[in-house]
């Protein structure tokens, strides 16, 4: 199962421990995380479900390309890292 971890800056606001979850895409993996931390969804995604403007998701070190539907594929041993983009200051 891919692993998902989050920028430490999120921990002050919302429950987001590092986890291993099932999923073949970034979207599927995050959906599993949101099941046990529903509030986290609004911190990562905007009202239309797109990745927030100044957030970035790395999959095995490369930024995910589909910011709208988060359809980038992940492997069973992938590391998904949710970070703040420097663009946000």
């Amino acid at each position: 199962m891919p692993s998902v971890s989050f920028t430490p800056n999120l921990r002050r606001h919302v429950y987001c421990p590092p986890v291993r979850v099932e999923g073949a895409t970034v979207s599927e993996a995050l959906a599993r995380v949101f099941e046990f931390s529903p509030r986290l969804k609004g911190y990562l995604l905007d009202d239309q479900g797109s990745l927030r403007k100044h957030m970035v998701v790395f999959v095995d070190g490369a930024p995910a390309r589909d910011r709208k539907r988060l359809s980038d594929p992940v492997r069973d041993d992938s590391e998904i890292l949710v970070m703040q983009a420097l663009s946000g200051g």
Partner: protein, 372 residues
């Protein structure tokens, strides 16, 4: 009830109390951008809006007078249906269906206890009937064709910064949009019109100067005791209506300047209002480096420029549109500035006490209203 004031700032929410002298009693959300605050009548329930930047806009609620806070659902724009396009503003820029800022929160008419209005950027008005447990976009306004005329003033997108209700007609709700004019609903928010006369917008081409739906109203206030009297601080000056907003009169020749953002209206006297003048739109600092408050007590025929207790040299405080508030007795005022100054007056603005000059930039000041 002892005086209590909430101060929403760029770096947290401050609580200021009068327990034998005004002092800062506590800070919540330290380091976080607190865009606005709403204590409801009696002060037990308080709302604080946060803008976390990267992580989006959040809403917190206290039900114990600010002693503890819980995050609640923030208003959210409904999912776009397949084929829905973002409307463009009048300049052709797409306006997203996504919350960018909670700009104002207001309690509903007392006949609907628990009702809360929320004005946002990029221009959606939301309503909660249950103290913020659930929010709904006010569709009649969001889908109004004239919304296509709106545009951002200073912000990328248009926004609703003023929601005005008054005792009496519970169905009358007024809002002001920057830039999008003053809108009124006479059926508690279902249908909306924008048709006031007398506005003037220097920033538009000559044929659109008087268009009510593009006016850059900075702040709208209604006199609670005389709700037919409205005051507006506008990008071009100060406007007043005595007929509920059908006709507006611009008050010209207001020294030292008619430019500004904030406006407060006496709760009982519709002829008394306060403003904080700045030089002009291109130079948003006090005239001659002197921070002053302008007060009229005759409906805008004349203004007194009040300065006792305020810095009178090299003061560059800008008071944002929610940075001035008056309490229910009409004598107690608070004013907070972008340079972190906080002042309180207990005599209608004649004299000002400096509470701090070291706060983060102040977005909003709000007294706890008396219980009902």
């Amino acid at each position: 009830m002892p005086g209590k004031l909430y101060v929403a700032t760029r770096k947290g929410l401050f609580t200021v109390v009068d327990d034998g002298g005004w002092r800062i009693a506590r800070v919540d959300f330290l380091g976080d951008n607190c865009s606005t605050v709403l204590p409801t009548a009696g002060g037990e329930t308080v709302f604080a809006a946060l803008d976390h930047g990267h992580f989006g806009v959040k809403l917190h609620r206290s039900i114990d007078a600010g002693e503890s806070w819980e995050e609640i659902e923030a208003p959210a724009y409904p999912p776009k249906k397949e084929g829905d396009e973002d409307w463009a503003d009048m300049h052709g820029r797409a306006i997203p269906h996504s919350l960018k800022l909670i700009w104002c929160l207001e309690a509903d008419h007392p006949s609907r206890p628990g009702g809360i209005w929320c004005g946002t950027i990029p221009g959606g008005l939301f309503y909660s009937p249950d103290r913020g447990d659930a929010w709904q976009l006010v569709e009649g306004l969001w889908n109004h064709p004239l919304r296509r005329r709106w545009f951002g003033g200073g912000m990328d997108y248009p926004g609703i910064h003023s929601v005005c209700l008054a005792p009496g007609d519970a169905n009358c709700v007024r809002i002001a949009v920057s830039c999008g004019g003053v809108w009124v609903s006479n059926d508690a928010g279902r249908n909306w019109t924008c048709d006031g006369e007398g506005w003037r917008a220097e920033f538009m081409p000559p044929d659109q100067v008087n268009d009510p739906a593009i006016q850059d109203v900075h702040r709208l206030q209604v006199c609670p005791a005389s709700p037919e009297v409205l005051w507006a601080q506008h990008h071009n000056g100060i406007f007043r209506s005595t007929d509920g907003g059908a006709r507006w009169t611009e008050l010209r020749d207001v020294p030292p300047s008619a430019f500004g953002f904030a406006c407060a209206v006496h709760p009982e006297d519709p002829n008394t209002a306060w403003f904080v003048p700045e030089i002009k739109d291109e130079r948003r600092v006090p005239v001659d480096g002197r921070l002053v408050v302008n007060r009229t007590r005759d409906g805008g025929k004349t203004f007194e420029t009040l300065h006792r207790g305020l810095p009178q040299e090299h003061a560059y405080d800008l008071v944002y549109r929610h940075g001035l508030d008056v309490a229910g007795n009409g004598e107690l005022l608070a004013m907070g500035s972008t340079t972190g100054s906080l002042f309180i007056s207990e005599n209608g603005g004649d004299d000002w006490l400096c509470i701090s000059t070291h706060l983060p930039p102040v977005y909003a000041v709000r007294f706890v209203p008396d219980d009902g």
